[in-house]
């Protein structure tokens, strides 16, 4: 999945200019008058910087950070902590790479570790902890983390020990559609799985000039297959419940066990239904060769009506398309397959792991775990959501952000982290992608696909 959470970030790199950063740091250390001493005894910062007092005392230091987030999203990140850097004099040297998931392990194994890394997958965090290089967060970070729902702490933990505080969250259980087109055709947003199926059949029956109810694409370079794993996760969470979901993640329930096989059949009846897909693109097999970025384009031309994709898909719509409840595109929450279960909210997120315990690294860690920083980030630009309960919901300006933030902090829904992100890499970013791609591309049978994935589970 590595790409799915980071796909929205992959655009353009922004890296802090050394010169600018240094001059800021220099200006800052001059104004604060002091550049040494521990946080407790640091000289007071000027009034405008008062709120950064807890992080003072490390002026002139640099903290390196490595992540998969690329410009323009990384620009927003850097802007969000620019004031912190100016006031405290801690320069954060940021590097984004779209090979993050394979580069981080290489660099950690090679001894060239960054101070901080923003890791989007609990599974990868587990791999890093195994190397023994990840440092536990300072006490303040642990306290700050309590502002998140308790379940997030487990996602930032490995074998019961808390290592990485969540920074952001995203919402996956969304179906994108065109409110304008729905209105023109007289369709309403389905509230239950039965409604969803009825609507799909209706659209399929009415289908003029090749329009179909659903479109999809699972192509994503080396991560091809991940959107298909999301579809199964939605169906498992909404059809079998969170207990089965958790057991499935820990392999107590296997892919070849009845609940998962049954869920795969549901997915096959949905995204492999030749009457329903692949609107505006081709047949069922074309899902395997269409990139997830391109998959939604037919929604705007009326050739396809619905696309299941995460909140970060918002970045893929052309700038000319208006996003909103009455706009060109918007999203509704995917109803649960089993109406007796709570609404499933499958999500992803990013975790800040430290590879150094230097005081300035801990200062940055502490700051980035506060609701204060999250608020600062929300104000910079839309397209970013925190599940931190300390963030004022009214700050979100984007309708999709509002929708996601509401769902992610809603305590009545069944929130679960992306399953493949938590499974061992050999499955979650290996065999599951491959087998599911073969499932769509070559029409491999469901029992064979399930058996293939199970056999890759590390013994």
């Amino acid at each position: 999945m590595n790409i799915r959470t980071s796909a929205r970030f992959r655009n353009r790199l922004l890296v802090a200019p050394a010169l600018l950063g240094l001059s800021l740091a220099a200006a800052c250390s001059n104004s604060s008058g002091s550049s040494s001493g521990s946080a407790g005894s640091a000289a007071p910062l000027p009034a405008s910087c008062a709120k950064y007092q807890p992080y003072a005392g490390h002026s002139g230091t640099t903290v390196t950070m490595f992540a998969s987030i690329l410009s323009p999203e990384s620009d927003s990140l850097e802007k969000s902590w620019a004031e912190f850097s100016t006031c405290t004099g801690i320069k954060i040297s940021y590097e984004g790479s779209n090979d993050f998931e394979s580069q981080l392990p290489v660099r950690v194994a090679g001894g060239n570790t960054p101070d901080l890394a923003i890791i989007p997958q609990p599974g990868l965090l587990g791999q890093m902890v195994k190397t023994g290089k990840v440092v536990k967060p300072p006490a303040q970070t642990v306290t700050n983390e309590d502002q998140w729902s308790p379940i997030w702490k487990t996602y930032g933990s490995v074998n019961g020990t808390f290592y990485a505080a969540p920074m952001s969250a995203n919402m996956k259980s969304l179906v994108w559609y065109s409110p304008k087109a729905f209105q023109a055709a007289g369709y309403t947003v389905p509230k239950t799985w039965a409604d969803l199926k009825a609507l799909s059949d209706k659209i399929a029956a009415a289908g003029t000039n090749g329009s179909r109810p659903w479109c999809g694409g699972i192509g994503s370079g080396t991560a091809t297959g991940w959107p298909a794993t999301d579809w199964l996760e939605e169906v498992v969470l909404g059809g079998q419940g969170s207990q089965v979901y958790d057991d499935w993640v820990s392999h107590k329930v296997k892919f070849s066990d009845p609940p998962i096989i049954q869920s795969m059949q549901t997915v096959a009846g949905w995204m492999q239904n030749p009457a329903w897909v692949n609107g505006g693109i081709g047949d069922v097999k074309s899902i395997a060769t269409t990139t997830f970025q391109d998959a939604g384009a037919p929604v705007l031309t009326g050739k396809c009506w619905m696309l299941q994709q995460a909140s970060f898909y918002e970045a893929q719509w052309p700038k000319t398309a208006k996003v909103g409840p009455d706009g060109d595109v918007f999203a509704f929450q995917l109803p649960p397959v089993n109406p007796a279960l709570p609404v499933p909210v499958e999500g992803g997120g990013e975790f800040l792991a430290a590879f150094s315990s230097r005081p300035e690294v801990q200062a940055v860690q502490n700051y980035l775990s506060t609701a204060d920083w999250a608020t600062s980030r929300v104000k910079v630009a839309p397209g970013w959501v925190s599940a931190n309960h300390g963030v004022d919901q009214s700050l979100y300006t984007d309708p999709i952000d509002q929708l996601s933030a509401k769902a992610l902090t809603d305590t009545s829904v069944a929130f679960r982290f992306d399953a493949s992100d938590m499974m061992p890499a050999a499955v979650g970013s290996g065999e599951e992608w491959k087998a599911f791609t073969a499932w769509f591309a070559e029409g491999e049978s469901i029992p064979k696909v399930a058996a293939d994935v199970d056999s890759a589970w590390p013994q």
Binding site: L19, E101, S102, P105, V106, Q127, K130, N209, G210, S220, G221, T222, A223, T224, G225, N278, G280, I281, G282, D283, K285, S286, A288, T289, A425, A426, S429, G430, K434, T437, A438, A441, E442, P458
Partner: protein, 335 residues
């Protein structure tokens, strides 16, 4: 580069000057040290002279090879006998996995196919072109255009060709050239090329051939030009026709070059994972050994299996190396 100075801050130019200065400074320093060493070592005479010369000439290269290739090779062999995180000894289990798993069978088969088809096609085509192009007007234009793909990175080339093979539903406008060409030629419902196994393997090989043919052509063309006229003159006077002359005189005369070109392209082919990685991610039955190795080691974190595949790759190429060595030995013997 079409970069005009008003668009760039002075600091950017200064920065560029410093970086390039460092870089050329490093080259100057490197050559300077060599010159001094040469001068000093050149003074040594007598019994010390020869060993010293060998040490100076070979030492740096051997040291770098030892550190950069030999040590990692030994480490890889060691890791291939160990578990995914190298903590346990597994014996030959990783190799057993490689030879008993269905998907890996497919990978080995594909790799073999690549190894035979792509280099032979690139070299063969390069040879024909080398013979044909030299008589034509504007030959350097043709040569340069055919060589041009060599200047494009394999990732870039894969992106270009992904465009060529793109297929849309027959009700849509095609954006892939191959599908459009098929439609122009009257085939109204072309398949989804990249999904059509086993054709897709060959479509990916086309990319490699496209990149490597220019290399083969340029090198072989030079080799043909270097054949001394008098060597083949006798054969020609015996009445051999052009084609026979080509087969029995030209080809044997450039055989060493042919083998070298073939070997070079084969090794590039074996090691190249970018094409498969970029175009199919190893899906649809197109996976090759180099990409599977990369994926096992760096995506799925199974260093043991990745290392075992690397060793298999290494062993697969050894016969090729052996053949080259035999050829070189023969050539040495005749000299």
């Amino acid at each position: 580069m079409p970069v005009t100075s008003p668009l760039l801050a002075d600091s950017a130019w200064n920065d560029a000057a410093i970086k390039l200065g460092n870089s050329f400074g490093a080259i100057a320093g490197f050559l300077g040290i060599l010159l001094v060493v040469f001068f000093a070592a050149g003074r040594a005479t007598g019994r010390l002279g020869r060993p010293l010369a060998i040490a100076v000439f070979l030492g740096p290269a051997l040291l770098l090879l030892l550190v950069g290739l030999v040590a990692p090779l030994i480490r890889t062999i060691y890791l291939s006998f160990r578990s995914d995180d190298s903590s346990r000894f597994l014996g030959l289990k990783n190799y057993g996995w490689a030879f008993t798993t269905d998907t890996i069978h497919q990978v080995l088969l594909n790799t073999l196919l690549w190894l035979v088809v792509a280099p032979v096609a690139a070299t063969g085509l390069g040879l024909v072109l080398a013979l044909l192009v030299d008589r034509m007007r504007w030959q350097s234009l043709y040569k340069s255009l055919i060589f041009m793909p060599m200047a494009i990175s394999l990732v870039g080339a894969s992106i270009i060709w992904k465009f060529v093979y793109d297929t849309r539903d027959s009700s849509q406008a095609q954006i892939g050239l191959l599908s459009q060409a098929a439609i122009w030629l009257g085939w109204h419902n072309p398949p989804n090329w990249i999904l059509s196994h086993p054709l897709n393997n060959f479509l990916l090989m086309v990319v490699m051939v496209w990149v490597q043919t220019g290399f083969a052509m340029v090198v072989l063309s030079a080799a043909i030009k270097a054949i001394p006229d008098e060597v083949t003159e006798a054969a020609r006077l015996d009445g051999a026709s052009g084609l026979r002359l080509f087969w029995y005189v030209t080809v044997p005369m450039i055989r060493t070059t042919l083998v070298v070109v073939l070997t070079t392209v084969m090794i590039v082919t074996l090691k190249a994972f970018d094409i498969v990685r970029t175009m199919t991610g190893g899906n649809f039955g197109t996976q090759v050994l180099a990409n599977e190795m990369y994926s096992q080691s760096f995506v799925q974190f199974n260093v043991g299996r990745g290392s075992a595949l690397a060793v298999i790759l290494f062993i697969a190429v050894l016969p090729l190396v052996g053949y080259n060595i035999v050829q070189l030995r023969k050539e040495r013997a005749t000299r």
